[in-house]
Amino acid sequence: MGVVTGSGFEVDVVAFVERLAERLREDGAPHPVAAAVALAARGRRRSTPEAFAGESGIDPGFVRRVEAGEVPFADLPDGLTDWLDPGQLLQLAELARRLDAA
């Protein structure tokens, strides 16, 4: 399944990721920003983790690890970040710097 178009409401990626990452961090995720980006990427396609992994050419186990907050933002593969523009990448890198566990 490709990217699903919605109602006309354009979700602000950075604002969404920040809110979700804050929650994931409270739940103990070491790398919440990467996890939130992966969840948003999959949400855009309305896919299961397995289907999304197949569509993106990423190992399903790796997708699960990212969504569990085990993978740093800097290690995200293109398949999880190629939908973001450079400005968003900049902001999310800054966000990861602030929120990731030391």
């Binding site: 109602s7 979700v11 809110r19 450079p86 900049l90 890198a93």
Partner: protein, 215 residues
């Protein structure tokens, strides 16, 4: 609560049920899908609540409304296990919780303290409340990140090619404020740099378009 926004298309009840079931199971990816599909409905409900609270000023601020829509969506995410398909739409079913979230987020109406009015002998310094920095630092943050991340360096180079130094500063400051969770970055940046929020939005829109065109 008055919903002042009336989308023309009917709600896709199957998609709504799928999103809510996924959210009830804790799958946050469905929260994105929910916002993507029903964000316009939430925006209408949020604007209605704001008008009921006599906060037309916030209702007219697109950035603020967007932030509140996200906040309300997380409230519905938390309450998704209690929702049942076939009943009222979640944003109506959880009406009280939605209004409470909006009220909690907007707080009491406030006016900016005009020190010049109180003391006309001196120019009041502008303070970047949201960032706590006392001044703009977006461009410096961009340069720091560019030194460490190749993708950001490429972005900064592209930005330098299409934006004047002032527009670069405005754009970078806007991105920084947004990254820090500022629900209304255009207002904050305007206060920091002595512009109007409309100026800031115009500059950001213009620079963003140029950066994308240059990609």
């Amino acid at each position: 609560m008055t919903d002042h926004h009336h989308p023309r298309t009917p709600v896709d009840t199957d998609l709504l049920a799928t999103c809510m079931a996924g959210m009830a199971a804790g799958d946050a990816s469905l929260l994105w899908a929910f916002l993507d599909a029903f964000g316009d409905r939430l925006a209408g409900v949020v604007r209605g609540a704001l008008r009921d609270f006599h906060r037309e000023d916030v209702a007219r601020d697109a950035d603020a409304v967007h932030g509140l829509v996200l906040d309300v969506a997380f409230v519905l995410f938390d309450r998704a296990p209690g929702w049942r398909p076939g009943g009222a739409a979640p944003w109506h079913w959880a009406r009280a919780a939605v209004r409470a979230e909006v009220a909690a987020r907007i707080g009491h109406r406030t006016e900016v303290l005009d020190l010049d009015r109180l003391d006309r002998t001196a120019e009041a310094p502008r303070v970047a409340v949201a960032s706590g920095t006392g001044g703009p630092e977006g461009s410096a943050a961009l340069d720091r990140l560019a030194a460490r991340h190749p993708a950001v360096a490429a972005f900064a180079e592209r930005l330098d090619a299409v934006a004047s130094p002032r527009d670069r500063q405005v754009f970078a400051e806007y991105l920084l404020q947004q990254a820090q969770g500022d629900p209304s970055p255009s207002h904050t940046v305007a206060a920091i740099l002595g512009l109007t929020p409309a100026n800031v939005r115009q500059i950001v829109c213009r620079v963003r378009g140029r950066v994308r065109s240059a990609a």
